[in-house]
């Protein structure tokens, strides 16, 4: 399951960042998940606490910041909300819409103590 490995990577990043600080444990992890990242945010939330168990992030809160998808059509310059990662322009039907946001998948910040 894709989301399990994503959740494990989030825990790994949080714990390695913690080690670089003088804090002892992770309280909260903020993660940006784009609408088109291919990752189901609710499934990551489901896996996270199990992945954090036994680490310095055990019991920490996972906050998922969902990033909306936006695309710009190279033909007519219209900005639109693509239904999926194939950004089809709703005005002129062009398939080459450039996705400007929505593919994010990164650990934004962590709260530690």
């Amino acid at each position: 399951m894709h989301e399990m490995s994503v959740a494990m990577s989030i825990v790994d990043i949080a714990v390695s960042q913690l080690k670089e600080s003088d804090a002892a444990r992770v309280l909260k992890v903020n993660v940006a998940v784009g609408e088109l990242s291919g990752v189901e945010a609710s499934a990551v939330e489901f896996c996270y606490s199990a992945c954090a168990r036994g680490t310095a992030a055990e019991g920490s809160e996972l906050v998922i910041e969902r990033v909306a998808a936006r695309a710009v059509c190279p033909e007519c310059s219209c900005e639109f909300h693509p239904e999926h990662s194939l950004a089809i322009c709703p005005q002129c039907g062009d398939f080459g819409g450039k996705i400007v946001s929505g593919e994010e998948l990164y650990v934004d910040q962590i709260s530690v103590e």
């Binding site: 399951m1 804090a23 999926h84 990164y106 962590i110």
Partner: protein, 219 residues
């Protein structure tokens, strides 16, 4: 409580490992291709045929990814080339760490061709860099015209699309023009091959492509 700004890509560790693999393969003159497709598109059949026809000219090794069984690895092993099976268990894709471990076991010194057969799935494998030179997406003629638009990331992250099982075309209503139109719209740079590993049609073009890439890596 203290807040630490991280801004680190979740897949960054995978990408770092993949970059390491890519560097090592290049140094050894190994051309690695990562094959992705739906289950049953004919990845293993194409690899077996390709190995049989090219192994006397170029050393070849294979990494097989499946959730369970070593059925595919056995088919590859029967051709006599080195093969490592990775069973991903619950995971739906290969990742760079799995490939790094498999490469150590494989002991393939190169130069040569390395075929990585990913888990049959057009979704997750598209997101994971394995250190390959390119991804190759397979779509069989029985799968209909719209795979490229249903799974655009797989076809956008690939450099080549191989349309397989073309010997079955007389029995099907596949609209080939539409399939090609969709794939071009999703990825205009996609290099397209039509072939049948069973009849042999189209294999020469495919082999020509592999050999020219291999020779440009190992002039």
């Amino acid at each position: 409580m203290k807040i630490i700004d991280v801004k680190k890509d979740v897949l960054s560790k995978n990408d770092e490992i993949a970059a390491g693999i890519r560097g090592k393969l290049k140094d050894k003159g190994i051309l690695a291709l990562n094959f992705i497709s739906s289950p049953g598109s004919g990845k293993t059949t194409l690899l077996v045929k390709t190995i049989e026809d090219l192994k006397s000219r170029i050393p070849i090794a294979v990494i097989e990814g499946d959730q369970q069984t070593d059925n595919d690895a056995k088919r590859i092993a029967a051709t006599g080339v080195p093969v490592i099976q990775i069973n991903t268990q619950s995971s739906c894709h290969l990742d760079a760490a799995m490939v790094e471990g498999a490469l150590e076991k494989l002991g393939f010194v190169g130069p040569g061709l390395l075929f990585i057969e990913n888990v049959g799935n057009l979704v997750c494998p598209a997101s994971y860099d394995l250190g390959e030179e390119m991804k190759v997406a397979l779509v069989s003629v029985t799968e209909g015209e719209d795979k490229p638009v249903k799974y655009p990331k797989a076809f956008r992250s690939s450099s080549a699309m191989v349309i397989t099982k073309t010997d079955l075309l007389p029995h099907l209503d596949l609209d080939m023009a539409r399939l090609l139109d969709y794939s071009t719209k999703v990825n205009p740079a996609l290099k397209v091959f039509h072939l049948s590993a069973k009849s042999g049609d189209g294999l020469d073009d495919w082999y020509g492509f592999l050999l020219s890439m291999y020779h440009s890596l190992n002039p």
